[in-house]
């Protein structure tokens, strides 16, 4: 089993790990760092449950080879709350507007939304839907998720 050592920034902290070369970013986050937010919904980049942000871009971590993460920065849902522990506007909006039902897609959905709002703070509905087009949700029918993202865009406090 070939191994690789990678150093990267995870939720603002520098980290170094040594894992089998074949591991993907999702497995590393969950097994090395116990960050369970990102989840495997399909394992082949077709559902978005594993979405995290790498260098500002939303990616499917289940098909992101871990050696590629060297030197990059990774942001997961566990890293978006304020330093005082307060919820990010997206997290608040999701709870307030029932954008979370079973919650399995939620971590990935919030990260796709954050990646969108970080680059496009005032998106149209169509841009929001494109931004989350790679995140499946079976519970909500997407409506209250889109509304929550619109709410968060309007209520942002400070920088995203």
């Amino acid at each position: 089993m070939k191994k690789v050592s990678v150093s990267f920034t995870l939720n603002g902290e520098p980290v170094t790990i040594e894992v089998p070369t074949t591991w993907n970013l999702l497995k590393v986050l969950r097994e090395c760092f116990e960050l369970n937010g990102a989840k495997e919904g399909c394992g082949v980049g077709e559902c978005g449950c594993c979405t995290v942000i790498v260098d500002g871009d939303a990616v499917n971590s289940c098909i992101y080879p871990i050696p590629e993460i060297e030197g990059r920065s990774v942001l997961s849902v566990e890293g978006i709350s304020g330093t005082d522990g307060g919820l990010h506007p997206l997290q608040k909006a999701f709870l307030e507007n029932n954008a979370v039902q079973c919650g399995f897609c939620t971590s990935g959905m919030i990260m796709s939304a954050k990646a969108l709002l970080d680059k496009n703070p005032e998106p149209t509905e169509d841009e929001i839907r494109t931004g989350i087009s790679g995140n499946f949700c079976r519970c909500t029918g997407y409506v209250q998720i889109v509304e929550a993202i619109e709410m968060a865009a309007k209520n942002k406090e400070g920088n995203f």
């Binding site: 690789v4 082949v44 990616v59 050696p67 969108l116 494109t130 931004g131 087009s133």
Partner: protein
Amino acid sequence: MIDYEYKIPADLHEVFTLLKEYGEKATLVAGGTDVMVKIRNTRKAPEVLISLRRLEDLRYIRKNGGYRIGGLTTHRMLELSNLVRTELSALHDAASQVGSVQVRNVATLGGNICNAAPSADTAAPLLVLDATVVLEGPGGRRRVPIAEFFKGTYRTVKEPDEVLIEFDIPEKMGAFGSAYWKHSRRKAMELPLIGIAVSVKLSEANEIEDSRIALTVAAPTPIRAYLAEDFLRGKPFTDQVLKEAGEIASSSECCTLRTSLRCEAWYREDMIKIFVPRMAKLAAERIKSR
């Protein structure tokens, strides 16, 4: 169990060194959305993966007379480019609809074309924009017209020790309007049931000076519908003419339609007939409004 070495070369020179060292044992990987998924699904992997992801020099969209797009340009870059949207519209249509944002953030144009799926969205636009593929290998560079690039399903003329470094689109294609239709059941996360790209150049008298028509999922490789193009050349831009072009394009002289689990051949045929005219009209509108 799957095991492989993962190499991350810093530049092209290193890529070639590694390719020479590992030969058949190695596979190039760019965004990973094809290679990593295939490994997961087949539970088989090459011995060595050579990543192209750090070759930032190969990510660009430039216009200098003609258009030059680096092989590692992501679909997301194409999607967000005003230049591509206005002047290479069909390519914009296609790139914007590949998979999802997450996929488009990492998947590259070069990777999509080298994967050579018969359903590759960006292949049809590149065909109607007369793109040339620029390959670089240990022996130097060579240029292959995109229409000659695909050898068969998932097979291209690219040698294992070559890298696709650039797509060139001639300046004259800027005078064409273009459009691509991805016919699918949903509006995201899809492969096309059939893909139709059309580019068209109109005269002042609203005649078709020149046009290109390309189809995906209509043959073992992405193809041009030459007979339909020949038919259109010099004709007036009318509904009847476009309809006939659609029928020629859908005929067995232009394509070999298959029935698969995803779609039956007759439906694909019908859609070619419908969308060749629709995309021709959209392409014409676009060039007029520019």
